[in-house]
Amino acid sequence: MPDQVDSPNVLEVRGLRRHFGNVAAVDGIDLTVQAGEIYGFLGVNGAGKTTTIRLLMGIIAAEAGTISLMGHRTRRTSIALKRRIGYVSQEQNFYPWMSCEMLGKFVGSLYPTWDKQEFHRLLEVFEIPPLRRVSRLSGGMKAKLGLALAISPKPDLLILDEPTAGLDPVARREFMEIIVAQARNHRRTTFFSSHLIDEVERCSDRIGIVHAGRMRFEGQLDELRSQVRRIVTRNHPIPLPDAFDLWSERSQEGVTRRTYRAGAADWNLIELPEGAEFERLSLEDIFIACVSPRGVSV
């Protein structure tokens, strides 16, 4: 039974764990999603994004940890809580024989808050013919249909598991714009996973970077940019205090590049010696440094 908790956050996860055989798919993840924000859950393939989302949706059970969803703390998401979540999975495995309208009717029967008018409006906005069979929809249309189905019950939280996977760049951008517009217009908390940095950079208020089942970073993008720096030295590497977390290291032709995350430390206290300099990092550089094995050359 879920416990009532007093928290302004829509979603809080603490110490979530799940193994598949000997593989720790999720290994003690902590994350927090605040009300009304768009949260980008970034990670490479196999990092544990989908497993985390399946745990959040109660599709699989957690071995350890707690999930607080909309003020209810639970180990496994109940049906009542799932009714307050709109979910778009990675693959759109709808019944191919159903028409879009029929699918809406079926899904609508599961939600007490289903808004039929809204569903039809969204179909119109997304230019999806209501009477067309699902099997005759393109990948992009299926993704939009999945979004319409997820939004129509007016959920408090929208969870999207790599919703743009398999879409072409145009469809991907269009899809993400719809999500952002929905989130902004209705102040709908949105949690989406992706391995595409530009997508996360463009849409997210806050991000979480997951790797090998663990959270490597959680916060705002600016925070990430300010915390992570790369030091390039020509001779010997510069030793930094332990408070600086070494994310990656690369040496080539006498030049050593080390990427650190400051965390609680302050970069302003670091004075670089002669021959050493900070290198400007893109978000992609930071992400790659973050998900590389610690201290290993990248």
Binding site: I59, I79, Y87, S89, Q92, N93, Y95, F106, Y111, T113
Partner: protein
């Protein structure tokens, strides 16, 4: 205005979805089963076994209903995994047991309706020849439903076994068939199988409480298993069993569990005594080793029919009793005789009963005379065969049975082997087959090649006459040892038949080897045929 909760419309939504998705298949299932019924009815091998449309119904239920359940379960359950639509369903606020419950209920309803429909069709096909009392109809219906629910519960659970379900199903079915054949463990007598077994079409009175309870228990267990397998989040056995086991281990374990469950159940079932059929208003006769129960398959038989039933019962009882005394058999299986108005004279239907229950024959007692040698020979042969659990049909023993059954009703009228031959000389002469006297195998081959059963039994009867030349007591001992031994209904019978084969008994009881027997046999046959003058037509010509 009160807004409905999700759960209230949920069931409606699920039912509507299942109906829309599978309505074509659902409408096809009655067609499939009716086709099965028609096909089986048109197969002489099947229709002659049962002798009524209700027996064909039991075969249809046994063969085609599980098939229909498999198709249905594949569509309702397995297709969700195959098309990966269960991933879509898992993301919805849909309690799994609601989904499983709707699917189970859907299949349950369809299989129940299909079994009921088949029963109605069978009754209609019987054309009124089966007297359908309320009790009989209720028995048939409840047995059909019991079997249908068992099939559905088993197949429903099986559908959750994932990609290896077909392999597991095959292993279980073939394993059970092999066990039954090799060890003699009567799996076909176990709970649900017994419901639609030998007695299905004939038992009009007795309620199968034990089988019903076993079936209900199995339905319950399999239903719980099905729901448990379906409720496992990953929907595979891997989640049901411990995580550390390999998939192969889990599959083997599940198959073994089901197999041993059935095996244990079958062994428990073996201990139960089989109650005989209850024929309302039957004439019951017990004369020495013979027990006969005879009745009419009509509500109100006429006075002539009652007389014919009594007369037949008496006549057959005397025939069986004397044969049993001669063979030193203490107790013969119960003979059930049912009078059928609609059958032609000398036309017989054999009811497909289990050997421990007895033997059931249906024929027109009014138009078939009680002294009919064909009738007596047929019944004697069948009763002796049932007495040895249908093992006498095998080659080495078969000719003894046929010979004895053919000879016994005529024994008082015929004093020499040639008389027996003469009675059927034309059939024998016209068989057009070369007789091979080299050894006993040649005789058996000759017998097998003859299409007419009467010719075959005549040839076999000659063999029996030849045995008479070794002395009456020797012949009686030999026949008693071949036909009278009631071996246990398991592998011990096979051992007995191996150790006490016909050639062994010939040597032991008659001091006669197979070659000598065949030689004398040929001579006797040739002599009889020559006397009849039939060989002038040119066949057969034994050297």
């Amino acid at each position: 205005m009160r807004q409905p909760k999700g759960g209230e419309r949920l069931i409606d939504g699920l039912i509507e979805k299942e109906w829309r998705q599978h309505r074509g298949l659902i409408l096809m299932i009655p067609v499939l089963l009716t086709s099965g019924f028609v096909i089986l009815g048109s197969l002489e091998a099947i229709s002659s076994l049962g002798g009524s449309s209700l027996a064909i119904l039991s075969w249809t239920l046994f063969l085609f209903l599980p098939l229909a359940c498999l198709v249905l379960a594949n569509a309702l359950v397995a297709s969700e995994f195959r098309q990966r639509t269960q991933i879509f369903l898992e993301g919805l606020p849909l309690p799994r047991w609601h989904l499983i419950g709707v699917k189970y209920g859907f299949g349950w309803l369809i299989t129940s309706a299909a079994a009921t429909l088949l029963l109605i069709i069978a009754h209609w096909a019987a054309g009124g020849s089966e007297a359908m009392t309320m009790r009989f109809a209720a028995l048939l219906w409840s047995k059909s439903l019991g079997w249908a629910w068992f099939c559905w519960a088993a197949v429903f659970a099986h559908a959750f076994l994932g990609r290896y379900r077909i392999l597991i199903g095959l292993v279980v079915v073939i394993g059970l068939m092999w066990v039954e054949k090799e060890s003699g463990v009567p799996i076909n007598r176990f709970g649900p199988f017994e419901l639609i077994g030998d007695r299905f079409a004939f038992e009009r009175y007795e309620i199968p409480w034990t089988e019903g309870c076993i079936t209900l228990a199995m339905i319950l267990v399999l239903t719980v298993l099905g729901f448990a397998l379906g409720s496992v989040r990953d929907a595979t056995l891997a989640s049901l069993l411990s995580e550390t086991m390999s998939a192969r281990e889990k599959i083997v374990l599940t198959a073994l569990a089901i197999f041993f469950l059935m095996l244990i159940g079958s062994n428990v079932e073996r201990e139960y005594k089989t109650d005989p059929l209850h024929l309302p208003g039957a004439v019951d006769i017990a004369q020495n080793a013979a027990t006969i129960s005879a009745a009419a398959a009509v509500q109100e038989p006429t006075h002539e029919e009652n007389e014919a039933i009594r007369s037949h019962s008496q006549s057959i009882a005397e025939c069986l009793s004397s044969a049993a005394t001669f063979l030193r058999i203490a107790k013969l299986p119960t003979l059930f005789m049912v009078h059928r108005r609609d059958m032609k004279p000398d036309e017989f239907d054999d009811g497909n009963l289990d050997s421990r229950q007895g033997y059931l024959i249906r024929f027109n007692m009014l138009d078939t005379p009680p002294e009919s040698e064909i009738l007596r020979s047929h019944i004697l042969k069948k009763v002796l065969d049932v007495h040895q659990h249908y093992r006498l049909g095998t080659d080495e023993r078969g000719w003894v049975l046929e010979g004895f059954a053919s000879w016994w009703p005529l024994r008082d009228r015929q004093s020499t082997p040639t008389d027996v031959i003469r009675s059927r000389q034309l059939e024998l002469a016209c068989s057009g087959l070369r007789i091979d006297e080299a050894d006993i195998t040649g005789w058996l081959r000759f017998k097998e090649n003859l299409e007419d059963e009467r010719v075959a039994s005549t040839v076999a009867a000659v063999g029996l006459m030849v045995l008479g030349q070794m002395g009456e007591e020797s012949r009686r001992t030999f026949l008693g040892n071949v036909l009278g031994y009631n071996a246990p209904h398991d592998f011990r019978a096979w051992l007995h038949d191996t150790w006490f084969s016909v050639p062994t008994l010939l040597q032991r009881d008659l001091r006669l080897n197979s070659f000598q027997l065949a030689k004398n046999w040929t001579t006797a046959l040739q002599s009889g045929a020559l006397q009849s003058g039939a060989l002038q037509s040119g066949t057969p010509t034994p050297p």
